[in-house]
């Protein structure tokens, strides 16, 4: 078959070929998720079984070097929950207000600076955030709140900053997507710009804003490098009022110890930590999907 006839064959079947190409790319993505799932569960589940699922999830001691070792990850589960909740506390209101400002109040010249700045914020590697946390936030917390500065509070503030770009960008486009007629309708009733924005436009954009928050939460739960640089990383179960003390998250647990895991259950237990993290992220995504379906984003 000559090259000419090959080309004409491709031409004639362009659409079918494209379709298969797309299908192939899509399956690659699915295969990646599937493989991760399989390996994670294959290596993690037996360890969980060995340790006892209940002991593993609710044990408060994480002591891989004891004999026998203890593998309880409750401190880390709670740690992840604390810093995520903290990130929500700092990041969500700030992000939403920033998005409203950008979409409805920002003068054009300022917007030209603000928008790229926020895009840049999204692109900064997490280790750089971590460094910023170490040199700025840690001393700040130490001096103003006490403790050594490596704490739940510090990690929460830092994570709150890191989820800002996600929340701002997605919320802003959700707010902009609200039809202008809706705004006109509110203003025509004698509502002020502020009133129309906060009572009509923002509620109308609520599903998109919710989506941004959930994606932000996903980012906070999964963040590793920056958190481990400022959180103190003690595998100790903390109470909420101990927010100026250190904590270890699920992600930090894995990355801190995987490099020098002891023989036996240690390494599988770390992978099992990954399984728990995976389930968390899956729950968040499911929540996202449900919301999306309900609101028709």
């Amino acid at each position: 078959m000559g090259i000419r006839s090959l080309i004409s064959l491709i031409r004639r079947n362009k659409e079918r070929i494209a379709k298969h190409l797309f299908a192939l790319s899509a399956s690659a993505a699915i295969a990646a998720v599937g493989l991760i799932c399989v390996f994670l569960f294959m290596q993690g589940l037996p360890a969980m079984w060995d340790i006892g699922i209940f002991n593993f999830l609710t044990g408060t001691d994480w002591q891989p070097d004891w004999t026998p070792p203890r593998f309880g990850i409750l401190p880390m589960i709670v740690g992840s929950l604390y810093v995520t909740a903290g990130a929500i506390l700092f990041g969500v209101p700030t992000g939403i207000f920033a998005a409203v400002f950008m979409a409805k109040f920002c003068p054009a010249p300022l917007y030209k600076i603000l928008k790229p700045a926020i895009n840049l914020l999204a692109g900064i590697p997490s280790v750089v955030y971590g460094y910023f946390g170490m040199v700025v936030l840690v001393p700040f917390v130490r001096e103003n709140f006490g403790g050594n500065g490596n704490s739940i509070l510090t990690a929460s503030i830092l994570l709150g900053m890191m989820i800002l770009p996600t929340i701002i960008t997605i919320s802003e486009s959700a707010i902009r997507a609200v039809p202008g007629e809706i705004y006109d309708g509110a203003v025509a009733l004698g509502a002020s710009h502020e009133h129309a924005t906060f009572r009509v436009i923002l509620p109308a954009a609520k599903s998109g804003v919710m989506a941004s928050v959930i994606l932000g939460i996903g980012r906070a739960v999964g963040e590793t490098m920056a958190v481990r640089m400022v959180a103190g990383n003690q595998a100790v179960l903390r109470m909420p009022h101990e927010f100026i003390r250190g904590v270890r998250t699920l992600t930090a647990n894995i990355v801190l110890e995987l490099g020098y895991a002891y023989p036996g259950d240690h390494r599988p237990a770390l992978i099992a930590t990954g399984v728990v993290l995976f389930v968390f992220v899956m729950l968040i995504n499911t929540l996202f999907a449900i919301l999306k379906k309900k609101e028709g984003v």
Partner: protein, 252 residues
């Protein structure tokens, strides 16, 4: 007896950047009348109606000269624009209910203007929906989303919403152009009923509609008010050739 003017327009000129959309408009719009604006597309009907509650303020590059008096007081002078818009309500061409419940749609206006009492709000919502002839259709679904209503119902809801802040004037920019004949008939009936308590200005492309409901008609062409007078007179013995051509459908 000469009617009292609700609006007096004096030498109104309006520009969008450097395009002049209204040219030297002088007209008196009488109180408790239905005044219809007619004219071909792009002649400035929407522009003029939006000038009456200063919705044009929202458009960048829009400039207006001359004066518009509402009850003998300039709407460009020492007046709170939000209070102006409360007095001069507006219904848009495309129904634009807020994406919230039927109740909240109608309660939004009163809430904006500081009414908090649940009892009072219930009262206002019911009265507005009744006045807009839609109460019977929605009274069992006040908590449902307004977006679940039909187009005609949505438009009447928007009328109810406009009535909820007790305006003096109702501006309607082609309120029935997106609706079926039955919804249109309902709204026309409603508009006639509302005339007793409100001054109504309506833009329409439908000549029959103008003759059916309006007392006064203004014919616009390229930003000018070509002819203005009693509706029967305009449609029976138009003075201007262009107006005659337009209403008899020979325009173009």
């Amino acid at each position: 007896m000469e009617k009292v003017s609700k609006f007096s327009l004096k030498d109104v000129n309006l520009w969008y950047s450097d395009f002049q959309a209204l040219k030297n408009i002088n007209m008196e719009i009488p109180a408790n009348f239905i005044t219809a604006f007619i004219g071909p597309s792009g002649c400035g009907k929407s522009t003029l109606i939006k000038s009456l509650n200063r919705m044009n303020d929202l458009i960048e590059g829009c400039r207006i000269t001359g004066d518009i008096l509402l009850d003998n007081e300039s709407i460009h002078g020492n007046i709170d624009v939000n209070m102006l818009r409360k007095r001069v309500g507006m219904v848009f061409q495309k129904p634009n209910p807020f994406p919230m419940s039927v109740f909240d749609n109608v309660a939004y206006g009163p809430r904006t203007h500081g009414i908090k009492s649940k009892f009072r709000l219930n009262e206002i919502v019911e009265k507005s929906l009744c006045d807009a002839a839609i109460w019977d259709e929605v009274k069992d679904r006040l908590k449902k989303s307004a977006l679940s209503l039909s187009g005609g119902q949505q438009q009447r809801l928007c009328i109810a919403r406009a009535l909820s802040v007790q305006p003096d004037v109702l501006l309607m920019d082609e309120p029935t152009s997106a609706l079926d004949p039955i919804s249109t008939a309902k709204i026309e009936e409603l508009v006639i009923k509302l005339k007793d308590s409100y001054t109504i200005v309506i833009v329409t492309h439908n000549m029959q509609q103008a003759t059916r409901i309006s007392d006064r008609t203004g014919f616009f062409l390229l930003g000018e008010l070509v002819e203005y007078g009693k509706t029967e007179r305009i449609f029976s013995v138009p003075k201007d050739k262009r107006c005659e051509d337009y209403i008899t459908g020979r325009f173009g």
